[in-house]
């Protein structure tokens, strides 16, 4: 099968959907003439023209709100945030407008919009460019939150997100745009809300999503060297969460570690842990342990970063702990 980059998978998804439906358009900072801050939308201005690939000033609140209004009035906007760190100035339009519109209007106006962009840390970018808000958005009824971990998932899930009739938060990573993976030429969509077992195993379940899947899979490789077979579940979406997939796996392995980049309090890992104690209590042979970023902002120096982010070593330590090794 052909191999393409994560950014190319995203570009293909958007371009295919824009060819399919003229009401789909892309708007954001540097998406058109600059060809995308991370080259995701490279060439799209040439194909679709300036009426459908639209540069904005640096005004996230304004153009996020524009997208919501356009979606209420028949269009299907893709609004790109250069990173979700900048979505915070637009969060009122996401949480109060997009997410609540259908309910608030008694079912009259849905908001078929995709807010997409990078999330989380991407090297030494300092505190304000390194945050994860997956759990913030996942806490908001009305939204769907998609966090794909590889090019294949990225394409199928982005196409599904663009066709979805509800607002979707679609989170990528600067550290994944160059990742390569197999992506078929033929069209396919992946369902929102369905987890994927990325590695089969019987000894312990590792649950993760987004770019932390790299950590989870690398840890599983290391464990295999010691004869421990980890089952690695990629949640793919964190609203809704495919709880059943996690519970089923834990019924088999009886042990679980959750790896997540966000800060720990009220995180997706807490949510998974709650559901396991509630729905798989009798199957657990050890407390669930999570590996999150530490409970602090991410600072600049590499030593601070090492001391803050989840990594393979912390994941291995957590697995050993749940296996009483």
């Amino acid at each position: 099968m052909r191999v393409i980059q994560y950014r190319e998978a995203l570009r293909e998804a958007m371009s295919e959907e824009m060819r399919r439906d003229k009401n789909v358009f892309l708007m954001g900072e540097e998406v058109a003439e600059y060809n995308g801050a991370y080259k995701v939308s490279q060439g799209m201005l040439d194909e679709f023209g300036p009426d459908r690939v639209i540069d904005t000033p640096i005004a996230e609140l304004g153009f996020a709100g524009l997208g919501v209004g356009a979606a209420m009035n028949g269009l299907r906007p893709i609004i790109e945030f250069m990173t979700f760190n900048f979505s915070l100035v637009a969060i009122d339009q996401i949480v109060n407008s997009a997410a609540k519109m259908l309910a608030m209007s008694g079912g009259a106006y849905n908001v078929p919009i995709v807010f997409r962009g990078a999330t989380g840390n991407a090297g030494q970018l300092g505190a304000t460019h390194s945050s994860n808000f997956e759990n913030w958005f996942a806490n908001t009824p009305g939204l769907k939150v998609v966090v794909p971990s590889n090019p294949y998932d990225a394409k199928g899930l982005l196409k599904a997100s663009i066709r979805d009739n509800d607002p979707v938060i679609y989170m990528e990573s600067e550290l994944m745009y160059g990742d390569k993976g197999e992506v078929p030429e033929a069209e396919y969509l992946l369902p929102i809300g369905v987890a994927d077992i990325k590695r089969k195993g019987k000894d312990v379940t590792i649950v993760s999503f987004g770019k932390m899947m790299k950590v989870a899979l690398e840890a599983a490789e290391e464990l295999a060297k010691d004869g421990i077979e980890a089952e690695v579940i990629d949640l793919r979406t964190v609203r809704p969460i495919d709880y059943a997939a996690v519970v089923e796996s834990v019924k088999k392995t009886n042990r679980c570690v959750v790896v997540e980049e966000a800060n720990p309090l009220a995180a997706i890992s807490s949510e998974i842990t709650y559901h396991l104690q509630r729905n798989a209590f009798d199957y657990l042979d050890a407390p669930v342990i999570r590996v999150n970023s530490m409970d602090i902002p991410l600072s600049y120096a590499p030593t601070y970063i090492d001391a803050t982010l989840p990594n393979v070593k912390r994941t291995l330590d957590a697995v050993k702990q749940v296996m009483y090794k």
Partner: protein
């Protein structure tokens, strides 16, 4: 309505139907809101409730200047616009009560009236948030190649929100067919315009973005109509947005729990002397546009409409609590977390 207007005989510039509509729609808004205020006192209406009394011309005059395909959006002082557009007063009143027959089946309440059939797109709760949305609604019209526009109302308080400035800039940049309307009633809740910025001529904020921007007598339904008609022509020609500052006044408090210590009784009375309904009634009488009998018939009709609306709201059932799970997602089998 306290003082008589001292103006000399006003000339009639519009059709009989237009004057009759202005008088009837503004009277309906006034009587509906007066009744809503009473019912709030009786705790039939709960939560927040923001009345439009005094500001009626801002909605009524704009409605006659636009077409039925144009789109409307405003903030939470939102009962009057849909009433003017023809939404059933019973459905609006039932919404204020929280009944299942309300405009959004009791989901929205006073601040979130919607009527898709009449292109009234809410009813929004966060000050200024409707302004980027209004921009987007107009953007969609242009994108789809229609000649329609969006009229986006906001209060004077919204003018100090960043969202509004971003939207004005984007609207001008993209030449979006939007009419931005500031209903300047002088006070953002209890804070006067002068206490919120050095820039008190609110329409001038549009000039910072090269937008055609004008002050309008918001107590005159004719002045509102003229200004909106001119802005609409500009939008339909492809020349983009306009900012209009309607200088108006609300006779009642910001919401129902407002002791109004920030203004004087004299100030309120002065504006009542320029009451929009009395003004248009005078024009109608001076020019014999409607007979006494026709006016009386309108008064009676409106009175009955409001009575019927209250009766309808009173008698309507509450929504089923479990229906709170409906219309959160378009996806019908969305798997909610159920504990």
């Amino acid at each position: 309505m306290a003082k008589k207007s001292t103006a000399t005989k006003a000339k009639a510039k519009y059709s009989k139907e237009t004057y009759a509509y202005w008088y009837e729609s503004m009277l309906l808004m006034r009587r509906f809101e007066e009744k809503a205020g009473q019912l709030y006192g009786q705790q039939k209406i709960r939560g927040f409730c923001h009345l439009y009394i005094g500001q009626e011309a801002c909605a009524s005059g704009a409605i006659t200047a636009l077409t039925k395909d144009d789109k409307w959006i405003t903030a939470y002082r939102d009962h009057a616009h849909p009433l003017g557009l023809g939404t059933d007063p019973g459905a609006v009143m039932a919404e204020l009560f929280g009944k299942v027959t309300g405009t959004t089946k009791g989901k929205g309440g006073s601040m979130h009236i919607f009527d898709k059939e009449r292109n009234f797109m809410g009813g929004h709760g966060i000050v200024g948030a409707q302004v980027p949305m209004g921009l987007g609604i107009g953007f969609a019209e242009k994108y789809q190649g229609t000649k329609n526009l969006c009229i986006c109302h906001m209060g004077d308080g919204a003018v100090r929100q960043g969202a509004v400035h971003e939207a004005l800039n984007l609207a001008m940049l993209y030449k979006t067919p939007v009419i931005f309307v500031i209903e300047n009633n002088g006070y953002a809740m209890g804070t006067s315009v002068a206490r919120t910025s050095n820039v008190t001529e609110l329409y001038t904020i549009g000039e910072a973005y090269d937008m055609p921007s004008f002050p309008v007598d918001g107590m005159s339904v004719e002045a509102v109509h003229e200004a909106v008609a001119e802005a609409a022509e500009r939008a339909r020609k492809g020349d983009g947005p306009t900012l209009l500052e309607f200088r108006t006044y609300r006779y009642k408090g910001h919401s129902m729990s407002d002791p109004q210590k920030y203004r004087t009784r004299e100030e309120v009375e002065e504006y009542k002397g320029r009451d929009p309904i009395e003004q248009v009634k005078k024009t109608i009488m001076d020019n014999k546009i409607l007979t006494e009998d026709e006016i009386t018939a309108i008064d009676k009709k409106v009175k009955k409409q409001v009575e019927d609306a209250v009766k309808f709201a009173e008698e309507s059932p509450w929504p089923d609590g479990q229906d709170a799970f409906k219309d959160v997602y378009k996806q019908e089998d969305y798997p909610f977390v159920m504990e």
